[in-house]
Symmetry: C2
Subunit: 398 residues, 2 copies
């Protein structure tokens, strides 16, 4: 065995030892992210059962939308069946259409790229910043200077002939992108911004909630998110007309009438059911506590990993307050072998862990999409391991 | 006031009087269709809350799929987020693609047409039979003889140049289409059958469950259906490979791996959450009782309306056992004025009622779709009124 692999083994063992100082012995699997149900979840769901209102009509959907708007500061929140559906509709409303392009990180969950594909559009992959894990706006600007030009019909990729219809910053693991630079570049190139805040409920950039910077933003309430509705998502916007359109298109575009079934355009069956919204309302009531727990868990991890050579905990970027949705260990150097050995050892030690997503340009259906140089993405893909991040892993504050 | 309108008023009053003999005085609104939760609904949902398994993983989804397969006799059932999603994927798997055509009734809920549109395909509307309210297969055969021809690449509409990729019989209000004739015509023209059994869980054609005749079928568990999961649906198939593909595509096409996030084709976030599946498992346990209640309600309505001139209750077609999902009054003659007066009077009398759907070719986005002569559809659209059909409106049998 080489000294290098001995070093690797020692590093992995030390990481596990330090994680155990935070998490205890882990005699049973510690999951990557489990929801915490410690409020009115059962009570509100029982109300749905008792009244029979479990489906697309019911007061919890409206209440959830109101709570979301209030919490995020968005003027409107439209609750839908999941984050993917939210992104699909948000892109459509931003003007993404067949044979247009959508700028997005390739270091993202598959939903970001798929939502563009559902619109018939083509993802155009951007590299990310080491400091945010999200789109590197300065380098995107340089890239656009090479491939794009402003014409009367919009920003055109002159290599493909397609219109660049939107840019989708995704706030990886809850850590906000450098939004001031990104908005500046988007404005310069006349590209609408749709924020993928699926992971960043409770994350702020300069005291403003993520998902409220672009014309449209989206949230996710999947089972592994900070707040869950089983499956669910929401569209955020300050624009009254976009909100009205979003609500219409996500409810089969049915025209209002006491009994007639008239639909006036192609719509989608994307409304969040009342049963799921009931769970979300109870969860949102506890969001400040959940965020506090998650920050304290991240702080404990950061302290435990401090001064350990070879790895560090990713911490929130400057000017940001992150929800620390998923805590991420970042290896000092890109090494898939080390990463995979660490993953195997962590999972064997009952500490459920996973790598960051496979970059989109490496998947067969997105292999031929346009892209900028993705060297930071390729580097980070070999360095990041997510570790258990459930809010229930720390006690509540007093 | 003309004698005709006096007759109309008398007819409407007599209909309401007779409905009250079944439903009582209706001092509060009697809804069109309310779910009945009288089993393990709360218990199973509480298990989700207690264990934290509310989302896309969890044992209730598998259990629901097993119960559905067992009840319908399909080899496989794949639970998804709603009936629209089920139909979208079933059409894709049947080979529906961009710029192909899908034969379907124009007298259907919007989801049937929208699912074809999601595939980039064009609905091709068929007229319905007075006896089934579903596709009139004999007349479809005549229509195909005029517009279609068999070529090596399939059945081609020679007027549009497009391939006819599927036919979608929809079992209106739970009443089965004449499936033997429909399957014969589909086989003759080499057109795959995808059954839209969204409304017909518990309905049988010649003792075989609807949704199990075509290569693929779908069910819906929307809040207004016989069995509800809040929102939900399922794909039915006997084909192992189609089932495997359906499961893969509806779960983001993620390749199985303990931690890697690799997706090998364009997939969808369509998996039913465990929370909703829990509700469905409890509901399915009670399905025989629900079906019994619904049959007895239909029987009571039929008796109440017997011998009333001008209107009748629609009853199950020959060779069929219907779930009587929504009971339908059928006026003797097509008269929108009478229909709308009846709807207004019923709703004013606290008996929530609605007309059949606006035929698809009358909606702006489907106005230019190919179609056969739709005279029976146009006739029926002015004659049908659905009346309250909840299983809770009759007592359980002993």
């Amino acid at each position: 065995m080489s000294s290098s692999s001995l070093d690797q083994r020692a590093l992995i063992e030390e990481i596990i030892r330090r994680l155990r100082t935070v998490l205890g012995e882990a005699r049973t699997p510690v999951l990557l992210h489990q929801p915490l149900f410690a409020g009115n979840e059962s009570k509100y769901i029982q109300q749905c059962i008792d009244t029979g209102w479990v489906s697309s009509a019911g007061s919890f959907v409206t209440q959830l939308e109101h709570q979301l708007a209030q919490f995020t500061g968005a003027r409107h929140a439209i609750a839908v069946v999941n984050g993917t559906a939210a992104l699909h509709i948000a892109l459509m409303l931003a003007g993404v259409e067949r044979d247009s392009e959508v700028l997005m990180p390739s270091l993202t969950f598959i939903a970001t790229a798929n939502a563009a594909a559902y619109c018939g559009a083509v993802p155009h992959f951007c590299d990310v910043s080491l400091r945010t894990l999200g789109i590197d706006a300065a380098r995107l600007d340089d890239h656009l200077a090479l491939v794009a030009e402003l014409r009367p019909e919009g920003c055109i990729n002159h290599r493909t002939g397609r219109r660049i219809a939107a840019v989708v910053p995704m706030h990886t693991f809850g850590h906000p992108v450098n939004l001031s630079k990104l908005l500046e570049v988007a404005a310069k190139w006349h590209i609408p911004v749709v924020e993928d805040a699926a992971e960043s409920l409770g994350s702020y950039y300069r005291q403003k909630h993520t998902g409220t910077f672009g014309g449209l933003g989206i949230l996710s309430f999947n089972g592994n998110k900070t707040v869950t509705t089983g499956a669910g998502g929401a569209i955020l916007t300050d624009d009254d007309d976009l909100a009205r359109r979003a609500r219409h298109i996500t409810t089969t575009a049915k025209a209002p009438h006491p009994w007639e079934y008239v639909h006036d355009e192609l719509g989608y069956n994307y409304r969040m059911p009342n049963l799921n919204a009931a769970l979300g309302c109870a969860q949102l009531e506890k969001l400040p506590e959940l965020l506090d727990r998650k920050r304290r868990l991240a702080h404990a991890y950061a302290q435990a990993m401090a001064d350990l050579s070879g790895v560090s905990l990713f911490v929130e970027p400057p000017d940001c307050k992150s929800n620390y949705w998923l805590n991420a260990l970042v290896l000092d150097r890109a090494d898939f072998d080390l990463r995979d050995q660490l993953l195997a050892a962590l999972n064997a030690a009952n500490l459920q862990s996973r790598p960051i997503w496979r970059p989109m340009q490496q998947l067969p259906m997105y292999r031929d999409c346009p892209r900028m140089d993705l060297s930071t993405t390729e580097d980070l893909a070999a360095r990041i391991v997510n570790i258990p991040s459930s809010p229930g892993l720390v006690r509540p504050s007093n």
